[in-house]
């Protein structure tokens, strides 16, 4: 089991090094990415630590921590890096791989993505009432953000009935491949 994990870890690390330029070995740990990251106070591993963990072949540790799942893709990290390393693209690549290899750890966020994509598969467009209802049911927090929902309803800022894309069957087939 360990050997298989190590192989997967190496595979992902090699892909990141070969396909995202400039490669992570240009990083000299200046910390600017971390300094700019809005979520650094909730991350287990900071962006600069994630870059180091990749080089050290510790992809499993990254998958088991919260950083890549909470990352907002705000891209401050990429824009601040003096070596122009695309940290945001690397975070997303890791996130995509964690989904592909069923190692996506944050339950709430995983549920959110699943529900959102299922709704697109059904309607072709987003449908907030179904999204919020499903999320609240899955998280067990039935009255989460009820105050917000009431305000949105009061201002009539929500579509009560869904809109259907005419060609949605093809979208449904596409989305199913990734769920």
């Amino acid at each position: 089991m360990k050997k298989k994990d190590n192989n997967l870890s190496s595979k992902i690390r090699d892909e990141i090094i070969n396909f995202i330029e400039p490669d992570i070995y240009y990083c000299y740990q200046c910390g600017r990415c971390t300094a700019g990251c809005p979520l650094s106070n909730v991350y287990k591993y900071q962006p600069n630590q994630i870059i180091r963990l990749i080089g050290a072949n510790k992809i499993e540790s990254i998958f088991n921590s919260n950083s890549i799942y909470l990352c907002l893709s705000c891209e401050i990290c990429s824009s601040r890096c003096p070596q122009e390393i695309n940290v945001a693209a690397i975070m997303n690549y890791l996130r995509n791989k964690s989904w592909q290899y069923r190692s996506f750890k944050e339950r709430a966020i995983l549920n959110f993505y699943k529900v959102f994509l299922k709704i697109i598969g059904i309607f072709g467009r987003s449908y907030e009432p179904a999204l919020i209802l499903n999320l609240n049911l899955l998280s067990g927090k039935f009255f989460n953000d009820m105050d917000l929902a009431l305000n949105i309803l009061r201002k009539r800022k929500i579509k009560l009935f869904p809109e259907f894309v005419k060609d949605r069957a093809k979208l449904s087939r596409l989305v199913k491949k990734y769920l």
């Binding site: 892909e15 070969n18 396909f19 330029e21 809005p38 979520l39 909730v42 909470l70 907002l72 893709s73 705000c74 891209e75 401050i76 990429s78 824009s79 695309n86 945001a88 693209a89 997303n92 690549y93 996130r95 995509n96 989904w99 592909q100 944050e106 709430a108 966020i109 959110f112 993505y113 959102f116 994509l117 697109i120 072709g124 467009r125 987003s126 907030e128 999204l131 919020i132 999320l135 953000d145 105050d147 917000l148 305000n151 949105i152 201002k155 009539r156 800022k157 929500i158 579509k159 809109e163 894309v165 005419k166 060609d167 949605r168 093809k170 979208l171 596409l174 989305v175 491949k177 990734y178």
Partner: protein, 318 residues
């Protein structure tokens, strides 16, 4: 791959991609922008049968899925005869821009990963019934980039109407505005950037607002993230990050915030009571979309700019 901003970019025939949020929780952005474009006599056409671009969920699950969902919209625009697309929602803009960079004919994949990605995208588009053997040259515009391109039109229109004696409530609101411009984190920083402004201290929105006689205050939190899509799963993070923005606006002496992103507007506007609860403050900042303020300045009524949809209402009776 960075494109330099060109003042004379071709945009005359523009397709309009609203995206899901402009259709619902950001309906005020949608309607005020469309009314503004009509005022300026700019022709636009909404993409027929557009689909959700997948935004953060699709992008975080699979880059390929995100690109395919967005590319479908680009090809639908092409079917209508358009290759220039205006994307007011910033998240949709990034996704459609990325898709255009993958399928545009003049760009070559730089490595095996990008090549495989491009092949997969074309294969799925072919499965959906599109003709992939055409030349593609899509140009996707964000709201701020687009407003910069039509800045002169806006200025001219303003000069036309500003001398009309106007004691209306709309102008009273504009005269009392002391805004700061909040760009949000994404509009200047997608993977492939069209360099139209400084990433750390942008001034596009301020310069556009100057064309209609509105002076903005300086503000150090112009591009700090509000918490974005974590609003639905980790709202405490959003409240913490958004509170910093409101606090900075207060320190700058502002009485409102002008934004260009629907998600930022919702986080700062709808969650303002929750933010006040968290930080024991009493912020009261109306969060306007830039299209609403420009619309009001060029003669739109409160109703046509949908000012009544703001949750934190301005002090003027609408």
């Amino acid at each position: 791959m960075i494109e330099e901003f060109q003042q004379d970019s071709q945009w005359e025939k523009i397709a309009y991609f609203p995206g899901c949020s402009l259709n619902s929780t950001a309906i005020d952005f949608n309607v005020s922008l469309k009314n503004l474009l009509k005022l300026l006599k700019i022709e636009f056409k909404e993409i027929d049968d557009w689909n959700c671009c997948g935004t953060t969920p699709a992008h975080n699950v699979s880059e390929e899925l995100s690109i395919i969902l967005s590319a479908r919209n680009l090809l639908l625009a092409k079917k209508m005869g358009y290759e220039n697309i205006l994307c007011p929602c910033v998240s949709c803009y990034c996704k459609l821009l990325k898709a255009s960079k993958v399928i545009n004919s003049d760009l070559k994949p730089e490595n095996r990963l990008e090549e495989n990605r491009r092949d997969l995208v074309f294969k799925e588009l072919k499965n959906m019934g599109f003709d992939i053997n055409q030349k593609f040259n899509f140009r996707v515009y964000s709201i701020v980039h687009f407003l910069l391109l039509i800045k002169e039109k806006i200025g001219n229109k303003y000069l036309e109407i500003k001398n009309d004696v106007n004691n209306s409530k709309e102008f009273e609101l504009l005269r009392g505005l002391k805004p700061v411009c909040y760009y949000g984190c994404v509009i200047l920083r997608p993977d492939y950037v069209i360099k139209f402004d400084n990433i750390e201290n942008p001034t596009s929105m301020e310069s556009i607002l100057k064309e209609v006689g509105i002076e903005s205050l300086n503000f150090p939190f112009k591009t700090e993230c509000c918490g974005a899509i974590l609003s639905l799963t980790n709202k405490n993070i959003v409240i913490e990050l958004s509170e910093k923005i409101l606090s900075a606006a207060q320190d700058a002496g502002a009485n409102c915030i002008i934004v260009c992103c629907p998600l930022c507007q919702q986080n700062l506007d709808l969650r303002q009571p929750q933010i006040n609860n968290y930080s024991k403050s009493n912020y009261r900042f109306p969060i306007f979309y830039i299209s609403q303020i420009l619309g009001l300045a060029l003669g739109l009524s409160f109703k046509n700019a949908m000012i009544d949809k703001l949750f934190v209402e301005p002090d003027i009776r609408i």
